[in-house]
Each structure stands twice: as C-alpha cells, then as structure tokens.
Assembly symmetry: C2
Homo-oligomer: 173 residues x 2
C-alpha cells in the first residue's frame, strides 16, 4: 500500500482523539480515587492567559474536524462549546470521531494541490495547498492541543505516561 | 504532486524542529530581557517526575532522527546528551536538521510496508510497518516533546503564541 492523503490524515486524527479520550478517562478515574470532583480538572490552565482544559479538548476536536471538512468539502457538525464535565467532553470526542468515520477516502485522495482557505485569528485568512494544510496546520494543531491536555493532567498528578498519548488504551497491554 | 512517505514526514520533522529552535530563541531573549539566566529555563520541569526542558529538546530531535534512520536505513549521528545552554540546544537542533537535509526522498518512498523494529523502554521492542511507525510513533513523538517545551516556556512567562509553534519565525510576518 502506498501512502495517500487520507491514510496520512484520517487515522492520525482518529488515533489522537481516541487516545485523548483515554487520557481523560484516566483523569476522571484518578480524580475520583483522590476524592475531588473531576470537574476541577476541566477548568485547569497552564498559565492564566492560556485556555482551560475544556477548550483544549474542543480545539483538538475542531482542528481534526475542520481540517477534514475543508479538504473534503463535506459539511462538519457544529457544537455549542459548552462542555463542563468529562462526560460532555467524551461526547464531543465521540461525535467528532463518529463524523470522521463517515468521510470516504476519495474525499481526500488526489486533492493534495487543492487550495484551502481558512481563518487565522478573528479577521485574517490564510491559503495553503491541502497536503501542506493538513501536515503543517491541522495535524500539528491536533497534537498541540492533545499534548497540552496531557501536560495539564500530568502536572495535576494524574498517572499518565507517554504511552497513554501514543497508543491509548493499548498502553496497559 | 501526490503525497509520498518522504513528503509526509521529512518536511514535518524539519518544520517542527525549526520552529522549536525559534521558540527557544524567543525564550533566551525573553530571559535576558527579564534579567535572569536563560539556563534556568533549560532545567524546568512540568512535574517533578517529568524530564526537564533540555531532555524534551533532545528527545524531539531524536524522535525525528531515529524515525528517519530506521526507515531509510541511513546511519544517524549520535550526540552526548550533555547540553546545558540554549546555544548547545540550538546546536543539537541544527545538527539534526543538517543530517535530515542529507536524506534522499527515495530512502523513504515506497517503503510504507517495510517493517521497523524499535526499542520501547529499556528492554522491550515493538515492530510496526514504516508508514504506521512514522505517522503513529515518530511524528506524534516529535510534536509531543516540542509542545511540552512550548508548555514549559509558556508557563514560565515567555511570550509565545501558537503561531510560534506552527509557523515559527513567520509568526511575526
């Protein structure tokens, strides 16, 4: 099998978000074992001017969703961005994964050179070719926000290791 | 142009490490402006049982270098892992980038299904096909450690934004 734009992208989004869900599940379990409300973790920030954990999860999901929608031309679901519990964050991830699973590979493959225009910040846009957009924008964005969640949880004392990030539930195997 | 194993990998490593160097340069400048030794930042940890910033930089470089070496069969340079200053960390990144620049695309392309065996931890190994190894192991490892450096610096008050991570020196443009 030769690599394709879909094989380079969709399984990457799916694995990163699945493992994010795994890390959040461990965090919730850990909070209960330590007898504090898991929702405390949802509001944690690495710095006062950084977004809290809930936003990091939302943006990780949206980077995958929007990258996929912009290249494939498919319409992505929208969300209210109002999650305050682990259950709601898991639902956000599950809905994103469910939608990604509906995207056919031929909505990606062959579109490497197609131009994609996307918002940066509130007023500007940027245009990149689809391959560059996915590998230099969408994928690093997903990893950036998933790793930020990992950093927040790790700093809060949750028992995570890099294997939880890389292979998720297989980490224990 | 159709995506290839080399186009999906080498520019990703190169961009991530170049932007890491950019973030470290901003950190060093910031420390000097705030009148403390930049080397203080080199020893920061997100948690007592996480590796310090210098190790995060080393592992980001090595994930790119080892991923490339294992798929291409080329011999990668080795380093002493003794960096204690920003200048030394920048040299580590520069040497890694210089070596990556010598790797021909045909040392990657067509090798998607080639099996790669690599160490996990101190005693075990794991075997994956090259495409999966690069996209599910090497690339996420690079982003994991680069983002951890970003998190450390951001938490220490360095004036970074996500654009520094995504586009590096172009962020100011």
């Amino acid at each position: 099998m030769t690599i394709t734009l879909s094989s380079a992208t969709l399984p990457v989004f799916q694995t990163a978000l699945t493992n994010l869900g795994h890390c959040l599940k461990k965090a919730e379990t850990n909070a209960m074992a330590r007898s504090f409300s898991p929702e405390v973790l949802v509001g944690l920030r690495l710095a006062p001017d950084m977004l809290p954990l809930a936003s990091q999860v939302r943006i990780a999901c949206d980077a995958a969703k929007n990258g996929t929608a912009r290249v494939s031309g498919m319409e992505a679901p929208t969300f209210a961005d109002d999650e305050t519990t682990f259950a709601q964050l898991q639902e956000r991830i599950a809905k994103t994964l469910a939608w990604l699973a509906t995207v056919p590979t031929d909505a990606f493959d062959g579109r490497e050179a197609q131009e994609v225009t996307f918002p940066i910040g509130k007023e500007a846009t940027r245009t990149m070719k689809a391959e560059a957009y996915l590998k230099h924008w969408s994928i690093p964005n997903v990893y950036f926000h998933v790793t930020t969640v990992y950093a927040l949880l790790r700093q809060a004392g949750v028992d995570l290791g890099k294997a939880d990030f890389l292979v998720g539930a297989q980490a224990a195997a």
